[in-house]
């Protein structure tokens, strides 16, 4: 379980570079002085207690701050070699980044339409093509077998765990380069969580994943590198193995992963 970090091959090319990032809500500083690099095809874990700014960072990566009243982002985020703020078509940017929120969101459309929404937004109209995409995404999200007979019933009527996998399938249907997962297992039972984690391990060959999680063991199971956030500050970024084997650089990280606070 712990030695897969060695088998992984990240290309080493930075997918995201964050420079001097600061996030404010009104006058309140949520996150300050964040500098980090996320490499292509790695799973980058972010751990930390509540209110440490993890979710705000994810929102900034998708430029959701544009939609959030009062949220202000300063500093630079460079995605695939281009500054996020320099994107002229925000929607095209977002189509390349998949997001999974903490609580599952089954849109009140049929299961099929949920997954076909993003391809349709991109202009794919051909029913046969859509069928192929929907099946592939549902299979990759480990949901196909459970819903293949009721693709046309409402997605919002699925169980919580199924809706979360539907959400993941929807994110995958964007064919994203980057997948942002925000505490995806909060509303999912442990068995389903393990199934989704297996899917994520498969996916990392094709895309880059940022995994925000409250479960430190989940970061240990999945992440190549892990960042520890505390009170709006990025305390440490390190190889996941080091963080979990008492080789963390900062004593606060050690305390957190060993459960002494938070």
């Amino acid at each position: 379980m712990v030695d897969h970090a060695q088998n992984r091959q990240t290309t080493g090319v930075p997918k995201i570079i964050v420079k001097d990032l600061m996030i404010l809500y009104g006058n309140k500083t949520i996150l300050r002085d964040v500098n980090l690099e996320i490499k292509e095809n790695e799973i980058f874990g972010i751990i930390g207690p509540a209110n440490s700014g993890k979710t705000s960072l994810l929102r900034a990566l998708n430029r959701m701050d544009d939609m959030t009243a009062g949220m202000k982002v300063t500093g630079d985020i460079i995605f695939s070699g281009k500054r996020l703020q320099a994107w002229k078509n925000l929607y095209a940017l977002r189509q390349r980044i998949g997001v999974v929120f903490p609580l599952p969101v089954g849109l009140p459309l049929s299961v099929f339409d949920n997954v076909a929404l993003s391809p349709r937004l991109r202009g794919i109209r051909n029913q046969a093509d859509l069928q192929v995409i929907v099946e592939r995404c549902l299979r990759r999200a480990a949901l196909w077998d459970e819903v293949k007979d009721r693709l046309h019933s409402l997605g919002s009527l699925l169980s919580g765990g199924q809706q979360q996998r539907l959400t993941i399938a929807r994110a995958l249907s964007q064919e994203p380069e980057l997948l942002l997962l925000d505490e995806f297992s909060i509303a999912v039972d442990p068995v389903t969580t393990m199934r989704i984690e297996d899917v994520l391990k498969e996916l990392r060959h094709e895309l880059t994943i940022v995994l925000v999680t409250n479960l430190v063991q989940q970061a240990r199971r999945l992440a190549d590198r892990t960042a520890f956030f505390l009170k709006g500050e990025c305390v440490e970024i390190n190889e996941t193995e080091k963080i979990f084997t008492r080789q963390a650089k900062d004593p606060r990280t050690m305390d957190y992963v060993e459960g002494r606070f938070g």
Partner: protein
């Protein structure tokens, strides 16, 4: 120490009054009874009104009512000396055409307003608009009728070069403007009831504002929006004063929006005061009332069933 004293005194009192019906118990009974009366009063009133208008119109319904004449003849001549006729077709068509025209005006206006307020407007603009829309809904119908009579009428005469400006067009526009605020308010509630997580999920995958609205928000809210439209239709059917003033009030099977018509409600309002109580004409007007009651009841019931659909999550 003080806390301990209070606690022990409290405990003693509790023990002493172990099983007695005290004030609180009787007060609870009383409040439950009062609330129950309030709750079923709506049923009592509805039944009472239905029984009343039926009892007033029943004589006509039993003795004189002719279904083919009532729904098939456009001749409403209740005051004819030798041969009165009671054909309500022209009145029904009048009400329906005005309501239909009003919907053409109010549906785009109200949905547009609701979408703007719920999805685009923010902060002060939004609050101001909401208050203004609700204020619009509070304008008395006679004021709308006055606008129809004294502003729309000459305007329509000039614009289309026709002799009379009191017609379906005029009444439809007035009624549409009247119904729009209520429809907008209900439609806005329906849009607000769509969870923000839906919008956020769609935005996050790169949908534009319009794509979010057209593909996620509107489909999610469609039951509420339909209910809003149906309530607008109900309002249109039942509206009296403005329609009486703006429609021209002449019994007529219309062939164009420039024809004057007469509405069911306006007929009752205008004629009831001039009939002898219990006369055939009087009873015929109550029969119109029964018909109106049934139609609006069905419209409102449908709207209610549609709204109930949202709450259950069946979309």
């Amino acid at each position: 120490m003080i806390m301990n004293n209070i606690t022990s005194a409290d405990n003693n009192r509790r023990r002493a009054s172990a099983d007695r019906r005290n004030m609180d118990w009787y007060l609870d009974l009383l409040v439950r009874f009062l609330v129950f009366i309030g709750g079923i009063s709506a049923i009592i009133f509805i039944l009472g009104i239905f029984v009343f208008i039926t009892s007033q119109g029943i004589g006509f319904l039993l003795d004189r009512f002719d279904i083919a004449e009532f729904f098939g003849s456009p001749l409403w001549r209740p005051t004819s000396e030798e041969h009165p006729t009671y054909g309500a077709l022209a009145l029904i068509v009048g009400t329906a055409s005005i309501t239909g025209f009003a919907m053409l005006v109010s549906v785009p206006f109200s949905l547009g307003a609701a979408i703007y307020i719920a999805e685009f407007a923010q902060g002060k603009v939004r609050e101001t608009l909401k208050v203004l829309v609700e204020l619009l809904a509070a304008i008395p119908s006679v004021v709308w009728g006055f606008i129809g009579l004294s502003i729309m009428n000459p305007f329509i005469i000039k614009l289309f070069n026709i002799p009379v400006g009191l017609n379906i067009l005029n009444a439809g526009i007035i009624l549409g403007l009247m119904a729009a605020p209520i429809m907008a308010t209900i439609a806005e509630d329906a849009l607000k009831a769509v969870p923000d997580t839906y919008r956020e999920a769609a935005e996050a995958m790169g949908a534009t504002r319009w794509q979010v609205i057209s593909r996620v928000t509107l489909p999610s809210a469609k039951n509420g929006l339909m209910a809003a439209v149906l309530l607008g239709v109900g309002r249109g059917f039942g509206e009296t004063m403005a329609v009486l003033m703006a429609s021209g009030h002449s019994v007529n099977l219309p062939t164009s929006p420039f024809d004057s018509v007469r509405a069911l409600t306006a007929t009752i309002a205008a004629e009831l005061g001039e009939t002898a109580q219990g006369s055939e004409h009087y009873q015929a007007l109550f029969t119109l009332g029964i018909f109106l009651f049934i139609v609006t009841f069905i419209i409102n019931l449908t709207a209610d069933i549609v709204v109930r659909g949202i709450r259950k999550g069946n979309i």
